[in-house]
Symmetry: C2
Subunit: 283 residues, 2 copies
């Protein structure tokens, strides 16, 4: 997916958000925002939105190096999701189709996206997820292919959210013997999960933990070996908007699981804002 002019106010808001979280003084905030604006004035719109978000974070890192901007938030989100886990398990186990309920709970976890807002109640979102109608529903295909799969790649999105991904993977493993490789970012960006978050969430107990190079080789599609790897997978589960933005054009068997959170994405997918989707990329 290309970058739209409508994404630009959002990039600036992200820069301002991070400034708030690193308690930047006024002079530093101004310096960061001016740099971002100058860079935006010559932005290549053919590139994917996460590439520019990456630039925003790089700009901030130059001013405040070696800071994991969202470390505290991520830990808080992991804990909140872990606290919600027992209740979520109960919801999933009681459901008519536990795998589908777990998929929906994992989508509900996608509410924990600090790039878009910072006020979410994970248990409330999970609780209503069972009755949530998917605005794009390719679950039947996902189920059929998971049963046949021997290689599954799971591309994670945010800290906190990954606790519910773990629950979904537990349900997946009940219907398949496939190898599950779970990919997180190799460096912190926004509140995206890194290896530490995945370990805190206990993903290593249910899947192989892998690191993708999303912060250094952007986007996925510009990394030929990763593209080859993805094409070799039987099923790819991709969580969240940034992964969608990077992979929406890739001809691989990707299932995008996410909540639609911005007008650019909703226009692109042609659904309403705030809806849950399971969308297969080959249909």
């Amino acid at each position: 997916m290309k970058t739209y002019l409508e994404c630009i106010p959002c990039f600036i808001k992200q820069a301002l958000n991070v400034c708030e979280h690193i308690d930047a003084d006024e002079k530093t905030r101004e310096k960061i925002v001016r740099r971002v604006l100058k860079r935006l004035s010559s932005i290549d719109l053919d590139k994917k939105p996460p590439e520019f978000a990456f630039y925003v974070y790089n700009t901030i890192e130059k001013v405040s190096p070696n800071i994991d901007f969202y470390k505290k938030i991520k830990q808080k989100d992991n804990l909140a999701a872990l606290e919600a886990l027992a209740k979520t398990k109960e919801i999933v186990e009681k459901a008519k189709d536990p795998l589908k309920a777990a998929a929906k709970a994992a989508i509900a976890g996608n509410i924990m996206d600090f790039a878009h807002h910072n006020n979410y109640n994970i248990l409330e979102t999970v609780s209503r997820s069972v009755d949530e109608k998917l605005s794009i529903d390719h679950y039947a295909k996902l189920l059929a292919e998971l049963k046949q799969a021997s290689r599954i790649a799971y591309l994670a999105d945010n800290a906190g959210e990954i606790v519910l991904d773990r629950l979904f993977i537990e349900e997946i493993r009940k219907i398949t013997q496939a190898e599950v490789n779970f990919f997180v970012r190799n460096k912190p960006i926004v509140n995206d999960a890194t290896i530490e978050d995945a370990e805190q969430a206990g993903i290593n107990k249910v899947a192989n933990l892998k690191i993708n190079k999303i912060r250094t080789t952007f986007p996925f599609t510009s990394n030929p070996s990763f593209v080859k790897f993805l094409k070799d997978q039987d099923v790819i589960i991709s969580k969240g908007q940034a992964n969608y933005e990077c992979l929406s054009e890739l001809k691989a068997n990707i299932f995008f699981l996410l909540i639609t959170k911005c007008p650019v994405i909703t226009d692109h997918i042609k659904v309403k804002k705030g809806t849950f989707i399971i969308k297969n990329n080959l249909l």
Copy 2:
């Protein structure tokens, strides 16, 4: 009021809004947004927000000259407000304090602000305005001073809204013999009222119509003769956020009547978003 970094995403959204209204093609949109971003990267934050909004409109005018971007919207808003007038009059006349009810209806008219959103129902807003509690309420002082006044200046904001200003002025004239001078912009910017809008709203029947130079000598406070004029007034009624942004530091007897519509303004005034205020500048 200075410009805050948080105003920047809003300036870009305004540029995109106008592009939509002039049906700009993709190349023109891109050109406008890039220019605005470049200019924003060296913005003087000590200037007032409307000065930069003015720059945004100037940039667009260079690409699409001689266009009153919001002409159609303004005419539609004037008509919608004129249609709501009879019902509003009824609400005002039935009220315990018709002048206060008319002031609140005039504030309700401030919902018609295209710089912030484009989806408003004027009659619904006016209807609930009677019961709306003002989050800052200097009405008692306004009433006392209107009664004593011999010179009143009324600084208008948006098309549509001015129809309800007219009703408020009619009520004001019932308690005072003062001269009322009603100021509109000399050139179109966003959906701010111009002389044509004021005539359509019938302001000329209840007040002297005057033009201020807000589009050419920005802000009010940089125009010494206008500042002198304002200081000589007994009461100044100032509608809307942009006028507040220009005049909040001026030591003159200004009553700001507006709906708080953006986080920067609400932080500055220290009230919640979406509230009605009548705020005197000398208290």
